[in-house]
Each structure stands twice: as structure tokens, then as C-alpha cells.
Amino acid sequence: MSVLVYLESWEGNFKKNTWESAFYAAKTAEMLGTEAIGLCIGNLNEDPSVAGQYGISKVLHLEDAAFNSFDANNYGAAIAEVAASQGADTIILSGTFNGKALAPALSINADAALLTNVVALPESSSPFSVKRGVYSSKGFNILSSDASKRVVVFVPNSLALEAGEGSAAVESVNAGAGDTKAVEVTEVDRVKGKIPLPEAERVVSGGRGLKGPENWGMIEELAEVLDAGTACSKPVSDMDWRPHSEHVGQTGIAIKPNLYVAVGISGAIQHLAGVSASNTIVVINKDAEAPFFKAADYGIVGDAFEVVPKLTAALKEFKANN
């Protein structure tokens, strides 16, 4: 028995998120007393043997025109087939958009239990149990399964990445796409240079306190100096000041960055639900009574239009000296 991890790539490139998956799988394999095998799907610009630094013993590379565009059922079927051929009983995915989309099909194809929204390394191996977020991060639950196989989908930024020495052997592998009709992808439209929110390590978010979409320049400047993704509260996206894809909170995207900077957001319970898993929260609000301060690590009472440019300047100075 072994652990298989899907090493996701984007237009042929890996991200830190890929290596977090590798590291998660290696740590899980260590707990189970077995090895962790990586699986890459599609054309690659980068060398996947780097996965060895994170504890992966071997990387399988599936290259086939059938997988040039994403289809949840096709990818799920292929990963299940590779898992079966490798005798893997534990399959690890990161909770990216594609990871979340394919995990259910994978679990059905592999006849495995599915454990999603997992926030840490597995708790125990017998029965296999994990800690997962429930009620939009307002609670946690220990979920266990005595099924013989399982798929684990963890929330990005769930563990601190450690790189060691090593290089994984790379082998090619074949697998079929299953017999479900695929969707036909007509266009992939990624915003260049934009950091996807679910995996962003730092996020700067703006609320109604910013008064209008024309004032987002300072949010973007702060995000740029922090190398952060940009987000917004629900009212801001509902008023179309910012795109839906930036809405973080209970009915938007739930995030788990190292640093979350909230500007002009009062901190309604629905917003806190989506962001309270953040490691460090900085709240900037002119209202000292804003409920968000209770959930914050650092608070600044002040006018966002004065505080944010000062913070950006201070960060630039810090970066110049460090």
C-alpha cells in the first residue's frame, strides 16, 4: 500500500501549492509507514523530480491529449486508475478549484471514502481520521473512515512547507479517461499575475468603508508590496465594485492565508466565517467599535485613506532594508 498525490500544474508550471501537496502526502505516508508517489498530468515546462525535496520517492507523468483540458470525471477516472495500478490506498489532493472538482469523481471511481476541507495532517491511521472545518470555519469535526481506501482533500496553507534534499525518479504512466462524456473547454481565461485566493499566503481585502470601486488603487498597491491576493467583502461584490471571484466569506471563498489585512470591513459574522482561519489578521477601520477588532491580532483605528498609504510606504521601506 502507498500514498498517491496529484501534483497539479498550471499551464505546465508548478506552484508552492503543488509542493505543499507533495509534503502533505510524504508526511501522511510517514505516518502510515509507506512511500508517497506523485502523479503529474499534462505537459510540463518544469522538472517534477523536485518533488523529491519534499519526500516524494517517485513521480509518474501522465501525458495524453485526452487530458489537455480539464474534465472532473476524466481526471477522476485517470487518477483512480493510476492509484489502483500503484496499489495506493490513500490519495491526496490540494483543495484547489480543480482538486475540489475532481475529488468526488475520483472517490467514486476508486471506491474510496472522501474526506474534504481537511485543515491539518491526518490525526490517526486506524481508523483513518482527519480534522476538518465545518460550519464555515466556525467549528471543526474529527471525521473518520474505516473504508479500505480514502481520498483526502486538504485546505491550501494547512501546513508549513519544509524542503529537504532529494530528487524523485520520473516515469511515464498511462491511464484512460473513463467512459463519461467530457465537457468541452472552449477558453481558459486566467488573469496574469493575479494570485488565486484559496492558496494566497497573504490577502488584502476591502469593504464598504472604501466608499467606491475607484478607491481600490491603494488596496492593489498594498497587495503588490505584500505580494498578496486581493479580496473583498460580500456587499462590495454585490454592488459590483469588485468581481464575485474576490468575495471572501461564508458564501464566497473561504481562505486560510498567513496574513489577512481587512480594510474598511466591519466584520459581520458571515465575513468572519470565511476568513477566521487566517493565521494573522490585521484590521483597519475608522470605527473603534467594529466587531472585526475582536477577531483581529492587530488593529488600527483610523481613516483607511490615510492609514493604507502609510502602511504601504512603511512596508516599502522595510523591504528596501531587508
Binding site: 475540489k100 471514502a113 467549528g139 469535526n141 465537457v183 472552449t186 497573504r202 477566521s276 490615510e306 522595510f318
Partner: protein, 274 residues
């Protein structure tokens, strides 16, 4: 009587579907409805932390499902469709199904069972879909209680239907639909042919477009059919254990608005996030 006539009508139509490519199809749409605590609800667990404490909690249609339900109502209004809403749960979920009927669904089905886990629920829905000859299933991307995001994708895999997750747009008529889904850092446009499963969210319709039950809808909903079905035999694959709440945050450290250098120092030296 009404029920028998309309279902006979659907069957007639679905049999002749292949002859109606150029026309609007009269579709049978199934919308999956989760019964979840209101978004403003305070979350507490029972004294032994073995379950969610329902005391004093108001339950609502899962917000992600609401977008899908309104989108289905649009299909019905624009091109003709019948909408069935479905929940797998005990009798306490019926007020939520009635609300969905008041918003514009035609009939409801409740599979009478505790929703043990996603695999169990997906199998129940798959059985309903196979029996009911549906053309399209719309569900929410996830439910705001268990946040699993599993049921729609499992359902699609069980049915061997195409699956579109995190769907933010669905436009089309006839057999083929143009859809948009969220992906990391952007969007993906795609086409799919009926039947398929959509896991939707805001964007499928906008927040301002969400239908709210009006008095007429509420009155009509009372007499709309709500069928209770027995579950099919399926084992759950997972078991929930102890619940807990996040550890309380330590007190907030206030930093003077004039002293951003101090905040930067704290973020670097204390929080170690920059």
C-alpha cells in the same frame, strides 16, 4: 390528477426530444436543496460535542442552492421547464422544501433519511434522478454546514454525467449549454450537452436577482405536491466524531494609526508573516 397529467406530458416530450433540436426543450430540472443553519446563526455543539446544537437555530435553504433554484426558475420562465426540489433528510427539513416551492419549484421530493454522509446522499439523489428521467441537476457548490462540496460531483460520477463545479454562468437552449466555471486565478468557458450536473454559486444569478417567496407563492406552495420517498440501501463511508470550536483569539493589539513602522515591525518580528 394534475400530477399524473403533467408527468405524462413530460414523458411524451422526452420521448420526442430528438425531434425538437431547434426548439426550446421542455426540461425536467432537479434542484438539490440543503437545509442549513442561517448564515447569522451562532454555532454551538451539544454538551458531549457529538452533534450540532439546533437549539434556537433558524434553518434556511443553503445559500449556494438558492442561486441554482432561481436559475432553474429562469429556465422555467424563459423556455419552459418543470422544477423538482429534493432534500435528503428527516421531516424537519420540510419547511425548507416548502420555501423552495414558494420560490417557484413545481413539486418536492424528500428522501426520508438522516443524511449520513455525502456518499449516502449522492446515492439517494442518483436513485431519484434515474427514476425521474431528469435532464439537468443543479446543486450548490457546497453546503454551509458540512462544507464538503462532495455530493454534486459524486452524483455526476454515479450517473456518468458531465460535471461543472463552481459554475458561475449557464446559458443555452436545446441540448447544448455554454457554461463558465471558476478556476484558480480566473475562469474557464466550456460547453456541455444535457444531461449534466451543475454545482453552482453566485454568478449563476446575481444576489439581487434571487427570488424571495411572496404571499401568493407561499399560498400556492401549501398545495404543491411533496412526495416522501424511502431511501435506497447504501452504506455511509465516513463517520463524524467530536466537534470543537476554534481556539479563542488572544486580545487584539492596537497600533497607533500614525505608527505604521511599528505594525510592520510586529508583523515581521512577532507574527513572522513578512
Amino acid at each position: 390528477m394534475h400530477n399524473i397529467l403533467t408527468s405524462a406530458f413530460f414523458r411524451l416530450f422526452s420521448r420526442h426530444r430528438q425531434y425538437h433540436f431547434s426548439e426550446y426543450l421542455f426540461m425536467k430540472v432537479l434542484v438539490c436543496i440543503s437545509h442549513v443553519p442561517d448564515t447569522t446563526a451562532k454555532i454551538n455543539f451539544t454538551a458531549d460535542n457529538s452533534a450540532f446544537d439546533k437549539n434556537g437555530v433558524q434553518f434556511v435553504i443553503n445559500p449556494y442552492d438558492e442561486f441554482g433554484l432561481t436559475r432553474a426558475v429562469w429556465l422555467k420562465e424563459k423556455q419552459g421547464a418543470s422544477i423538482t426540489v429534493l432534500n435528503v433528510g428527516t421531516a424537519e427539513t420540510e419547511p425548507t422544501l416548502r420555501k423552495a416551492l414558494a420560490i417557484g419549484a413545481d413539486n418536492a421530493i424528500r428522501v426520508d433519511a438522516e443524511a449520513k454522509d455525502a456518499f449516502f446522499v449522492a446515492n439517494q439523489i442518483a436513485a431519484v434522478v434515474k427514476e425521474g428521467d431528469y435532464d439537468l441537476v443543479i446543486a450548490g457548490r457546497e453546503s454551509i454546514d458540512y462544507n464538503g462540496g462532495q455530493v454534486p460531483g459524486m452524483l455526476a460520477a454515479l450517473l456518468k454525467w458531465p460535471f461543472i463545479n463552481a459554475c458561475v454562468s449557464m446559458e443555452g437552449e436545446g441540448e447544448t449549454y455554454n457554461l463558465v466555471r471558476e478556476i484558480d486565478g480566473g475562469k474557464e468557458k466550456l460547453q456541455a450537452s444535457l444531461p449534466f450536473v451543475v454545482a453552482g454559486q453566485k454568478g449563476l444569478v446575481e444576489e439581487k436577482d434571487l427570488r424571495i417567496p411572496n404571499m401568493r407563492g407561499i399560498m400556492q406552495a401549501r398545495s404543491k405536491p411533496l412526495e416522501v420517498k424511502s431511501p435506497v440501501d447504501t452504506e455511509a463511508k465516513t463517520q463524524t466524531g467530536v466537534y470543537s470550536k476554534p481556539a479563542p483569539k488572544s486580545a487584539v493589539k492596537m497600533v497607533d494609526a500614525e505608527n505604521m513602522a511599528e505594525l510592520v515591525r510586529l508583523l515581521h518580528e512577532e507574527a513572522k508573516v513578512i
